[in-house]
Amino acid sequence: MANATANADTPASQQVLTFVLGSETYGVDILRVQEIRGWSSVTKIPHAPPHVLGVLNLRGSIVPIVDMRMKFNLERAEYTAVTVIIVLSVQARKGRRDFGVVVDGVSDVVNVNAAEVKPAPDLGSRAATEHIRGLMPVADRMVVLLDIDRLIGHELGAQGDALDEEPVTAAAQSAA
């Protein structure tokens, strides 16, 4: 596969944290995960897009919380004691930005060989695929590998100052 060899800096394999949303499984680079914590109620932000639920206090810093179900236009789920918030960091030009995503549950940490990651097929405008780094098989399921810089970085604060190019993404996309 072309994107495996695209960049010498890209590690051949990396660890990915997978989580469940409804019937789908998604994955994010584990190095971007700051912490995983249980659901607690958030403070609403006025004038925020509907999928930005509000902000939480994370050891002294104010962190926005995004509902991934709403972000992906999935049916809303009740927040229960087992609902989980994954705190991620994105690289923006101003530096690191932290935010939390609400997911149904965290499932596993898997090793991903870069060669196994397949580019997402173009589904037209119905499902924007630019925030998807690729698809990969894990056991008998398909895991959607997310590019969180693109997914969240663009709209957090709507300043669009998240870095446009994250090295891995750039390599994978040019190869694809």
């Binding site: 609403k44 932000i45 006025p46 206090n57 104010i62």
Partner: protein, 772 residues
């Protein structure tokens, strides 16, 4: 390995040196012409000496060389072989500027403006040569000048390489031509460039075509223009903002850059560096031939240090640059260079040690750092340490967290029952007390005395007064008033502008003052004091005052005020804050273009402060800036709306009240108003603006908080008032972004987040909603 070890002390060295230069400047300003003050000269000498030592040790040869020349002159003054004259004092002050600029360049690893260094160095040498013609005085003169030539070459090679290495991506090309008066107005191109450099990688090429002959140069004027390439996709506004303070003093052209071939850029840069390099050696050779008769003495002096490293490069540089005279100076050069480096370890070595431990480099501390030759300074010595702001902020954050944990424990403690409950509770109350003290102490760490900002004014006023032919005494009081470092940094520019205005427009010429029956010496008074939770800085002058009739006439002629409108004093004063407003008949070098007061006010407003004017024609003016002490803490009133809690800054609140039913009325079916102290104020329902579900939707069931923002008052309708507390402001922009009507967030005692309202923004949002 050794170099690596030294590099970690660079920051300390630079910080120390900048502070040392400040104290040197302060001491210079206190020097009385004609009245010798050995202690003052000694202080200045020690500062120069320790900088030289440090610079030599760290290998900043050009700085060491320049300081060496400076030291030679100071030595003459110290040993009373020469008297301090006004000219010498001026040149010494100028050297402080040059040194500061040099250090700044070295610190940023940018090319040093060797032309300027060489010029000032030349003048210093001329002073020494004219009075003390002895060999020891002349020897270092020649040596250091040849040194400068070496550095010129080395530095010149820098930018060419840098340009070649950098790939010029999309960005901006900025043409920046400084008008000669730029520097006089306190604008510093370097400061502009460094603020540009924050936007992205910046390359600057200087154009010296307009530079006159050395003899004709007025050192206070700027003859240069620059071509800047900024590799950044920042907006045009961001670039313009960098030139905000210099508007009118320079010509700026901004072009979006597509992709420029690196080759072209490199070629010009290389040419430029050649020019810089060749400039310095010419002076070097000139001095060399002039000082030739004394060369034997110099050769003897350098004999001991012969064979030092760098001899080869020094020889090559001046050999290629100058003729036979240059060759003569080259022979001396290694000696000068070597002696600088040889003396360095002994004098400079103590610097990193005690220096690292002393933050406020007061003159006594300097004396310590200067080493064995400095007498032990008596008196109080500030013992302090240097800590980065991030560490302090981290500490503040952690303490904040501790407070929350402690609050949680107290909650548990209250419910606890059993044999140890009482003991536990008394321990908790002890903890609470200590915690409060800890928090206060930590907050105080960020506070600095305002003298850090005030200290630049004596020099500025002196220079301006001299230029304008005015006699001005600057008084400063309340310099020890403390305020937060972030506020301190941001009020510098507005204050500079106001002081400059007072000196230029406020204080009249001595003749005019005598004619008006005043003392020929005008007074500008800077005063700072605490007023409740804020700090008031006052700039007061006993000059001509604002001419209301002239301001009004000008405003009428420009159509800003209707011909028949009657304005009160405050409204007239308000006019001078309008962009582009100036009553000056002709624009002077210093001011009068009408740029500035609007920027002053904007800066003050951004800090959450305000500016007031009081003035009497013929008697003088007072400008009073009121600023919050800190941007980190606000006194707030918690209010609740539905399940949410918001903090309203107490400074915005006028009163809270409950409306009787029927006391509010609808205005044309839409906006609600109520009567408050004879005025009708609009009611803003917070739950509507912020889209939350309220508990009370009928006006008399909730409460009205009468609040003010940007001069407008509203009645903010909320469910309930909770309590007043000091809250630590956290930025929403760190991880999210700005929100209309929200100034920030804070963490409440239970660990949850509450938003802090920004009344100005809220009123804007509410009125745009009402209009929609």
């Amino acid at each position: 390995m050794a170099e690596l070890d030294l590099a970690q002390f660079h920051d300390t060295f630079f910080e120390e040196s900048f502070e040392a230069l400040d104290s040197m400047e302060a001491a210079l300003l206190k020097l009385d012409v004609g009245a010798p003050n050995p202690e003052g000269v000694n202080t200045i000498f020690r500062v120069a000496h320790s900088i030289k030592g440090g610079a030599g040790m760290f290998g900043f040869t050009d700085v060491a060389s320049f300081t060496h020349t400076l030291e030679t002159l100071l030595d003459e003054l110290r040993s009373a072989r020469m008297q301090v004259t006004t000219y010498i004092a001026d040149q010494l002050l100028l050297s402080v500027d040059v040194l500061r600029a040099m250090m700044r360049s070295v610190q940023r690893k940018e090319p040093v403006d060797m032309q300027r260094v060489a010029d000032v160095q030349f003048d210093l040498e001329a002073i020494v040569a004219s009075k003390g013609g002895s060999a020891p005085a002349a020897a270092p003169t020649v040596a250091s000048d040849a040194n400068a030539a070496v550095v010129g070459v080395a530095v010149g090679a820098g930018p060419a390489g840098a340009v070649a290495a950098a790939t010029v991506a999309g960005g901006w090309e900025i043409g920046f031509r400084a008008l000669p008066e730029l520097l006089l107005r306190g604008n510093d191109p370097l400061a502009i460039f460094s603020s540009l450099a924050e936007l992205g990688p910046l390359q600057a090429r200087v154009n010296m075509d307009a530079l006159p002959r050395l003899r004709q140069i007025d050192a206070e004027r700027c003859y240069l223009s620059w071509t800047l390439q900024l590799t950044s996709d920042c907006s045009r506004e961001q670039i313009d903002a960098a030139f905000d303070w210099a508007t009118g003093d320079c010509e700026v052209t901004v072009q979006r850059l597509s992709t420029v071939g690196p080759g072209a850029a490199e070629a010009t840069a290389a040419g430029q560096s050649a020019a810089t390099a060749s400039g310095a050696p010419v002076d070097g050779s000139a001095t060399a031939s002039a000082a030739a008769p004394t060369l034997t003495g110099a050769a003897l002096a350098t004999g001991a240090a012969a064979g030092a490293a760098g001899a080869a490069s020094a020889g090559a540089a001046s050999g290629s640059a100058a003729g036979s005279a240059g060759a003569a100076s080259a022979g001396v050069a290694p000696g000068g260079a070597a002696s600088a480096t040889v003396t360095a370890p002994s004098t400079g070595a103590p610097t990193p040690g005690p220096a690292a431990a002393s933050a406020h480099a007061t003159p006594p501390a300097q004396a310590r750092a200067a080493g064995p030759d400095a007498p032990k300074a008596a008196g109080a010595e500030h013992s302090s340490i240097r800590v980065s702001i991030e560490k302090i902020d981290e500490l503040i954050n952690t303490v904040g967290e501790l407070v929350i944990t402690q609050a949680m424990l107290s909650e548990v403690g209250r419910k606890l029952e059993g044999p140890f409950a009482e003991q536990f509770r008394s321990g908790l109350s002890q903890l609470e007390r200590n915690m409060r003290e800890l928090q206060e102490s930590v907050m105080r760490v960020r506070m600095l005395p305002i003298s850090f900002t005030f200290s630049r004014f004596p020099r500025m006023v002196r220079d301006l007064a001299q230029r304008l032919g005015k006699q001005i005494e600057l008084k400063m009081t309340g310099e020890q008033t403390e305020l937060d470092k972030t506020v301190l940094e941001k009020i510098g520019d507005p204050l500079v502008h106001l002081v400059r205005n007072s000196v230029d427009h406020g204080i009249e010429s001595p003749e005019a003052r005598i004619a008006a029956g005043k003392s020929p010496v005008g007074t500008v008074h800077l005063d700072a004091c605490h007023r409740g939770g804020s700090i008031a800085v006052e700039i007061r002058d006993d000059g001509g005052g604002l001419d209301k009739n002239r301001i009004l006439a000008k405003a009428r002629s420009r159509g800003l005020v209707g011909a028949n409108d009657v304005l009160n004093d405050d409204q007239i004063h308000e006019l001078i804050f309008l962009p582009g407003f100036s009553t000056a008949e002709k624009t002077t070098d210093l001011s009068g273009r009408g740029v500035g007061m609007d920027v002053v006010r904007r800066n003050v407003k951004e800090l959450g402060g305000k500016i007031e004017i009081a003035s009497e024609l013929g008697k003088g003016s007072r400008f009073i800036i009121t600023l919050p002490l800190t941007l980190a803490i606000v006194d707030g009133q918690s209010v609740s709306v539905g399940t949410e809690t918001y903090i309203v800054p107490l400074t915005s609140i006028i009163e809270s009240l409950q409306l009787q039913s029927q006391s509010a009325s609808r205005l044309s079916g839409r906006g609600e108003v109520f009567s408050f102290r004879g005025d009708y104020l609009p009611i803003v329902r917070l739950h509507e603006v912020f889209g939350v579900k309220p508990r009370a939707s009928v006006l008399h069931e909730g409460l009205i908080v009468v609040a003010e923002g940007d001069g407008r008052r509203i009645g903010l309708f909320v469910d309930d008032l909770l309590g007043q507390q000091q809250v630590v402001i956290k930025s929403m922009e760190t991880n999210y972004g700005p929100i209309d009507g929200v100034a920030g967030a804070t963490i409440l005692g239970d660990g949850s987040v509450a938003l802090i309202l920004d009344l100005t923004g809220l009123i804007r949002v509410a009125s745009s909603r009402a209009a929609a």
